[in-house]
């Protein structure tokens, strides 16, 4: 008899301390030992994790009001501008924002040592951050200038809202040109000198539910060391599949998440300000999703291995910057993780941009929370669009 479970049943088992929870790595071994059917009967939840640079991240902050009151139409935090085109004392600080004086790539390759992401890390770490604000005055908000220092504890709210996180799959980046290039996938040596990849493969959240059968609005997640939620699909959420030679679905790709959570209960170990030489500042975010094993089909995908999951090799020297479709090849995550791949007869060393070690720690932590009964599954109010909806990206002309 094939198993069927509901969120309610799983949560009852979590509350009773009886839920069987395995990480996405552990469930692979279990399925190897005893097959899908028996494993599906035993396992309630599979936990996933990723710890990766995610540029589309940021925080909504509300500072509290000054006396006399001020609207704050321009705001800087540690000299990094925050978007203040909102109500009084509300701002959004984006991870990739740079101080106005940053030379960026004028001194190529730029270092991007401090940006919005680093301010977010400092806030989460409990450090003091300078706040500078300007505004035009109004009858109800007369103040026009203000400077102070804030800490996360001192302000009203800090809500992380990341419009595009946890990309389902990612390109393996190479460089065909004859000079070093500096990308968000790291520095790529000329003449295919190295290959850079992201995602945690078999631990990666969206790769383990490519039909979006369990992930939706309200899914409770590990976010930045605390608890967060899937708020919506991410921007550019175009879920689909890489295809094999016969046109069969091979590996999910293209899905993204918009996530939300209270920054005040997060941890700087899982939100790290990050700088890519010649590219920019970004935030490395820790995200983990629990996948409820509602039936065998969900387990089939949750138990996919690095050998069964693939990434496309894309030339960041030419095709990517020119938005030209086409990949140079396809490699499994097992090959990528082995340390080298073969491309056009050449052996190319690989290196990741996302930390597999930390992804494993996230999946393990989430497992522990669920086992202790501290973390219940959030049943989605609505699932995210899946591949069958055929969402496609548009080109801007």
């Amino acid at each position: 008899m094939s198993v069927e479970r509901t969120y309610k049943e799983i949560n009852e088992r979590i509350k009773a301390g009886k839920a069987v929870v395995l990480t996405a790595e552990e469930v692979i071994d279990k399925v190897r030992e005893q097959g899908i059917s028996r494993t599906a009967q035993e396992v309630d939840v599979v936990t996933t994790g990723t710890f990766s640079p995610m540029c589309s991240s940021g925080v909504f902050l509300n500072f509290g009001h000054t006396r006399p009151r001020m609207r704050m139409s321009k705001v800087w935090l540690n000299n990094v501008p925050a978007y203040a085109g909102l109500a009084a004392v509300d701002v959004y600080l984006g991870a990739t924002e740079l101080p106005e004086a940053d030379p960026a790539n004028r001194d190529y390759p730029g270092e991007f040592r401090y940006g919005g992401a680093h301010v977010i890390e400092d806030l989460v770490a409990g450090k003091e951050v300078s706040l500078r604000a300007q505004s035009y005055g109004t009858d109800c908000y007369p103040r026009t200038k203000f400077e102070t220092t804030i800490t996360l504890d001192k302000i009203n709210e800090a809500i992380m809202f990341n419009p595009r996180n946890a990309y389902e799959n990612y390109n393996c980046a190479v460089n065909s040109t004859d000079r070093m290039i500096y990308t968000y996938m790291g520095a790529l040596k000329p003449h295919f000198g190295n290959a850079s990849y992201s995602t945690s493969g078999q631990l990666s959240p969206l790769l383990k539910d490519p039909y979006f059968k369990t992930i939706g609005i309200g899914t409770r997640i590990f976010l930045g060391g605390g608890i967060g939620y899937v708020a919506w699909n991410g921007t550019q959420h175009f879920p689909g599949f890489l295809k094999d030679e016969e046109g069969n679905n091979l590996t999910g790709a293209g899905g993204t998440l918009a996530v939300i959570g209270d920054l005040k209960q997060m941890n700087a170990r899982w939100l790290v300000g990050t700088s890519y030489l010649g590219y920019g500042a970004t935030l490395t975010v820790g995200i983990g999703l629990p996948i409820p094993i509602l039936n065998e089909e969900i387990l089939v995908h949750a138990a996919k291995t690095d050998e069964e999951l693939f990434a496309e090799i894309v030339d960041y020297g030419n095709d990517y910057p020119n938005f030209k479709a086409g990949a140079l090849g396809r490699v499994s995550y097992a090959q990528l993780k082995s340390g080298s791949i073969k491309l056009q007869g050449k052996e190319i060393p690989t290196s990741p941009v996302s930390s597999y070690l930390r992804a494993r720690e996230i999946a393990g932590t989430l497992k522990e929370w669920i086992q202790k009964g501290e973390f219940l599954l959030g049943e989605p109010s609505q699932l995210l669009p899946g591949p069958e909806q055929g969402l496609k990206g548009k080109a801007l002309t």
Partner: protein, 133 residues
């Protein structure tokens, strides 16, 4: 006798002295230069392996010339608190002093293999690789 890896720092006054020639001719030492550079202030840095019976005498000669000598392994350090083990540095480390251990995917730093090229210091996205001056 195993070669010693050292870093020599030259001031603008000492940078033009032909010291490698002197080490070979006067002290019979074999020098393998791993890296040498002169900055816009005419100050020089040289990383080299030095082998020979009269190694200690050679070092004393260098110091007498006003050239500071440092053991190599102490110069680039990994900040364990900061390192996230992403592994991005490993593709750019010419001697594989930085490498990924498999299957744990933990990033290891073998300081003995470091030749102070400083690529990791530039590349590390979380600035976990630090130069000790």
């Amino acid at each position: 006798m195993a070669p010693e890896k050292i870093i020599l720092r030259f001031s603008a006054d000492t940078v033009k002295k032909p010291i490698i020639y002197a080490l070979a001719k006067e002290y019979d030492l074999v020098a393998n230069i791993l890296k040498a550079s002169i900055n816009p202030h005419q100050e020089g840095t040289m990383v080299l392996e030095l082998t020979g019976e009269r190694y200690e005498e050679g070092i004393r000669f260098l110091e007498k010339q006003g050239i500071s000598v440092h053991p190599l392994a102490q110069e680039v350090k990994r900040n364990q608190e900061k390192c996230t083990h992403c592994g991005n540095c490993t593709a750019h480390c010419p001697t594989h002093a930085l490498s990924i251990e498999r299957p744990s995917m933990e990033v290891k730093f073998n300081e003995d293999e470091c030749i102070l090229c400083l690529m990791c210091v530039k590349i590390c996205p979380v600035h976990a690789m630090e130069v000790r001056i």
